[in-house]
Symmetry: D2
């Protein structure tokens, strides 16, 4: 059998349980039973012994047997109800239900539980990011824009930046969870005709029945005006929210890959793992690359979802069927793989302060030319003179560094040696020292991030302490 | 000059104002002034007369002059500040600001105002859908799944179905608006170093300055931990929400195109417009097709947005620049065109009850075979016999209809004529009459939809009464 | 284990064999052996008995054992070479090779063989379309634009139209196959350093080695200037070509779904299958819907491929790895499912000439108003008078048909009854008869299509006779 | 008016001419005239003076006047024919033509001419890449995989690598151009009924007419079996080929951005341009970022194209209309902007050999550990001992470099000082010298690339010498 590579190589057991063929059969059987019990409570004549018989066999799941039935009936739901009926020796389920009354609700339950799981892993990632941001809040790095040195910042602030992007996405994610509606029992075209007939037109009973179902599923809200299916723009919203959730981590992973290229940081190694013995310097960012890969996969699932949204004909059709069979589980598997990998990286990553410091020193004199000019003016030289002298030496230093005649940025020495400037080397060096750790509001920003994460964690304390499984 | 076809052919004046080159210049100038005033309030020495001079010339917008400056400086923001300075005869703006402190906030303001506009048009569409759903709540139609007759529903319910999809999307849309954060004044790498320097390290003043800016923009929330740019996953969320918002309308438009093919409904004509004189029967669904076209365009913008999300290098770069110049305005133009067209269709569409009735009658006997069987059993015939006889005649009727020997579904006549069934034609016809308008819970569902829309409209009463412009 | 749903539910055995985990291991082992044999031929000291030992065990594939090794080494290729070495009791393979020298070539071989398979299924589909187009070349149908009756055409022409789209795509597909280059043995960064070292810098031998490899793979062309990996835009070209190949079938399927809504055609049933006994009229287009679904999936894979194209860093990295593990097999599985389903539909579909004829008659009088006018003018009435009279009656007929007072288009009767026109009913009816089968150049167009298909089939005669497996 | 930003900011005049509103009107008028002249040659009675009158006014293009007409007729083609007729004082055009007979062919002509233009710019880019690859064929750089130093290569080889990707895409691009079919005059549903009627059913004349049209357009091949429109999968193939064409350049641009981060190369500056005076070291890769941005935009257009492909209903509809109005010109504008920017970068880019050399020296000792081991073994030490000693020192060196106690890789010194190894420093240094420029087959690979480019250039000599316009 050809396995689902996302599930088998990358996803966690908890998510695989939700989407396994066996797991799905069980969810369906439990839904059938929940509906039947509610129908009985509302007056339908369903014998207790039947319900007990179903309950007793509901865990006997034989995929081959179901598959054999489907090859005959060519109807997947029919095959599954027959199997369950035969196991129990009764025919008391699926009353007044169409196939979609079963499948839509079960699939939404799988989606909903997966959403909760991804929410929890996001919390776990945020908890780690906050911890790391605190720990590296004083580690000054050369901030880069256009991939080129720009101004000083701290590594902690950089983490907080990606973390805050994740918090922003989480806000919309939690809103999606809170407002997620389940289709309910709506019948063939959405009018609930068959359930109404079953209860002799008593719409209060049908409403109560749907309420029981929602309560069984644990999804509080129910669609009112659907057709055969719930709107596929809701699936789109789900997949889109997974893309959003992966964006902060993906930017973080890309930045760590860039830093690895400069040897200022690495994603680290698993305990016991060392670099290639042939090339001991090689710290491949394979996990970070994989995070970016998962994000690319999610964008593909998004394209699938966007093909479905806005393409409903009348009360619905099944041109979405095969798409959803692939897209829904796989988008969650990819998202889960992304977060499992992210958590692993966050637990293992390293920074190399000495290399970072070297990079800072290389660039700092350039980054501080305006500060030096201000000091020179204060010391009595004219602004234009100072500007002219500094620019002259700065350009020469750059040229020499790139030209190879220089290996260390000696701008300060050059300026100190120039009589036109009244600043000597100790003065310039103390200026550089005073400013090299000036990262503006970064410490306060990190603090604010950490505080927000603490609030998130307080709402989901168990989630924060999750430990990822071993990744390949 | 090559015009932006989405803006010039389809978008409304209100949206074009937000995104016009002149409009943007004005937003920038107002932002510069708002920042300068706040800086002055916080103690910076900025002369009143300078502010007055800027204020006096801020509407003098000469794109050619700015363009000429840019061709020299090769820096768009520099060109625009120089133009404004020269017009006012002062150099008192942009203090402690980087280009992105200007452009990010202005672009977010354009996005935010466009979001509000689209929210209002959604409300307008919902108000019309609720009205139409009420008006056609009794118009029984043949509900279709797989594009094939399935069960009766009403046209009002069908509208409520697409309307409820729109309401669901609106819920997330309003959450996005409510939680939308602006970048604020963060400086080159996000640490606010330059504003802090300007205020001698007084972070309370910098915080107050950002608050003033947010208040000027009318966007309450501000990002804390950004780099050079705000996270592009926020742009992704915006474009994604526009795709969602267009999904209900797009499914509605597709269904109306299908109905036009059956002549059960049409998108109608503008006043004075008639069908082609050569082909008077031809009611082309060109506006509905266009709605679907706009949705396809939005999905393209979504792909652009998804290229940007999760692709930030370090503190940011401008590989997103040209993408956002195209994607942000165009996604709103497309969305606006979609809603302008939708509102027009909702105002002009027609249904053809006689053709609908004919379709219902064609299918009803088939749809009611189970009901007939129940009646036969009640009248004393065995269940298996009834099932057998009905199926025999139903299959023969289908075959004759498709084979061409029959033009009208005569299943009831056949059943009445068969001695094995104890039901005569009047009995069968009264059965069909009794059930042909049975659309289950559809009336109550519509009522629920109308009520929800009323609540939405109550929050935005002006929006509901918006009238779209003439469309091409 | 969670199965790959595309593979297990929809794909054909031939394609599954190419992409199965076991199949891949075998391809790798055969590649290693082919390289080793070529190296030996070129002078490397590799003992015959080692090659024989490998050959003897190459079919002993134990995935669990390999998996256990990978969990220790954390390197998939290393795990697989160790397994093979241990089985054979030798260490004579993979000389001068990097992992990518193995994996890139094997994956390209899988792609290449899959391309050939899809090419063959396209030929099979074209053969069927040509046959059907010939058979239904005289079946006049009401051609539709905007989903509304426009002008007469034939069903055969409609099939030829979608068929010619498929031929156009096939042309580019065959060009892709013909120009498809394999990466070859290029080493870690593409310079072939290690193979060169192995052969003491003899580049002629290295060139000969690559030639042997290409010959083993059956892919004639080899990349010259690659890095660690071949350019991912080639993967993009592959997936894009699958989207193209599915476009004609997808439009055909959508049109058949539309026709099923009018009961003019259906996708038919499998032998023994009948319509739902409850609703015997219901001919669901589930297979056609599925074809559209597969096409939506392919567009998702295209989005994945477009994330990879143009995103190579330096000589390459593995951010594409997880994406390609999913995208490459799944795009082919989806494409295979699409064609298996298409072939099934083409073998089973039905048309309903009587319903088609009824539709034609309903619209024909409208479609022929200009022809009637010309005849009236010839018969002596003024052009303006004729135009006026005809339009008056046509509009009234449309109104009555839609208003319900009329069930059959009686325009001819109305015109015959009007004294202002000199044409009686027999004259008008013979006019209609004469023109109702006038479908212009359609017959010649079909003939041209059939001829082109015959040429395609002549090149791949076996492919044309392929019979799809049973679909679910 | 809101301008098309892609056209106005980035595209070249030649492309803007093809897609300007005025240019399109002219193409339409020329097509009408070409058809009329051919009809006249085939026997239709069209007076010479009418053709002369049209010819005389065809350049009088007044968009406002046409627009005013469209606002009345609500039909764009009707507005344009009326304008042309009124200008000429005749009504002799558009005979037997439907709107699509005009618009499809004109749009395909715009596409076709744009394809030729992009083909030429690709040739221009290849010519530059070949020249640069030759010039930098000896410039050894540290090849990187996973963004980490891996093995030596040359900068010329790196350029040849991206260049060969571009050649591969060009091969498919030229095949697309060569096989591009135009729709021709097919009438309302594709049967050519109206042209046939015009020529009394003489299909030979209609075939001749289409041939004349194709010859006028300069597109040799004509579709046979289309409906109202040509298949939109052809538009998809066009946009997809533009994505492919941009992939090599996009990977090149991304790699140059990475190199700029290491200061080993930069995209250079326009003549007269210098780095920021405040930060003289800052070489922003804004043009390379823009290239990546254009590629992201193209992927958005690809998503639009993929929405259209496979979505044809019956003989066609216009749900594609608004999409194609945006997508077709904009995809070419983006592609043109990409190539204009690429050509500028290729003309201005710099490499910094001294910085490159420094990077090489930093990594070389690590890259050569296996070579050193072989030399040690030859000099008499046991293989295991050599491996052990070298690894010990290599790991220590890495640790010291990252830990900060070391600034220069001194592995050779450490090995020389270790008695267990029989190699002294001069021996090790000469080993390193001998191998530091060993880039395997890179020189031959470059030569092969240059030769292929020369063949491409020989086919299009004018294209190669194209100079891009000034970019913003």
């Amino acid at each position: 059998m050809i396995p689902n590579v996302l599930a088998e190589r990358y996803a966690s057991p908890a998510l695989k349980d939700i989407w396994s063929p066996e797991g799905r059969i069980l969810l369906e059987r439990e839904l059938w039973l929940a509906v039947a019990r509610a129908q009985k409570d509302l007056g339908l004549d369903i014998p207790d012994e039947a319900l007990e018989a179903y309950e007793a066999v509901k865990n006997q799941i034989n995929l081959e047997s179901i598959d054999a039935r489907e090859r005959i009936t060519r109807h997947d739901v029919k095959a599954r109800i027959e199997e369950f009926n035969d196991l129990a020796g009764h025919e008391q389920l699926h009353k007044g239900m169409t196939s979609r009354d079963l499948t839509e609700n079960v699939e939404q339950l799988q989606v909903y539980r997966s959403l909760l799981l991804m929410r929890d892993k996001t919390v776990a990632a945020l908890a780690r990011l906050a911890k790391l941001a605190t720990e590296t809040g004083d580690l000054v790095i050369t901030g880069r824009t256009h991939n080129v040195a720009a101004q000083s910042t701290t590594f902690g602030k950089r983490l907080a930046m990606f973390g805050e992007e994740l918090i922003d996405a989480l806000g919309r994610f939690e809103h999606l969870i809170a407002s997620y509606c389940v289709r309910g029992l709506k019948g063939a075209v959405g009018t609930q005709l068959d359930q109404l007939s079953l209860f002799d037109g008593d719409s209060a009973k049908v409403a109560q029945l749907e309420k029981s179902l929602a309560s069984h599923l644990g999804i509080p809200d129910v669609w009112e005006n659907v057709g055969q299916v719930y709107p596929r723009s809701l699936d789109f919203a789900v997949v889109s929210s997974l893309v959003e959730l992966g964006s902060g981590p993906s930017s973080f992973a890309k930045t760590l890959r860039l830093m690895a290229g400069h040897e200022t940081a690495s994603e680290g190694f698993a305990p016991g793992q060392t670099g290639s013995s042939a090339m001991p310097h090689k710290m491949n960012s394979r996990s970070c690359e994989r995070i970016n890969g998962f994000h690319a996969i999610l964008k593909g699932h998004l394209a699938m979802a966007s093909s479905l949204a806005g393409d409903q004909w009348n009360e619905g059709d099944v041109s979405c069927s095969v798409v959803r069979r692939v897209m829904l589980p796989d988008a969650f598997f990819a998202s889960d793989g992304l977060f499992e990998t992210l958590l692993t990286v966050l637990d293992q990553m390293d920074t190399y302060p000495a290399v970072i410091e070297k990079e800072n020193l290389h660039y700092l004199p350039f980054l501080l030319t305006t500060t030096i000019m201000m000091a020179a003016v204060k010391a009595g030289v004219g602004r234009e003179t100072a500007h002219h002298v500094i620019k002259e030496h700065a350009l020469a230093t750059v040229a020499d560094l790139r030209g190879g005649s220089l290996t260390k940025n000696d701008l300060l020495e050059r300026l100190a040696a120039d009589d036109r400037l009244p600043l000597d080397l100790p003065a310039l060096e103390s200026l550089l020292d005073a400013n090299k750790t000036n990262t503006g509001n970064a410490p306060a920003q990190i603090e604010s991030f950490v505080k927000t994460v603490a609030e998130v964690v307080a709402k989901h304390p168990d989630a924060a302490s999750y430990t990822p499984g071993d990744i390949l």
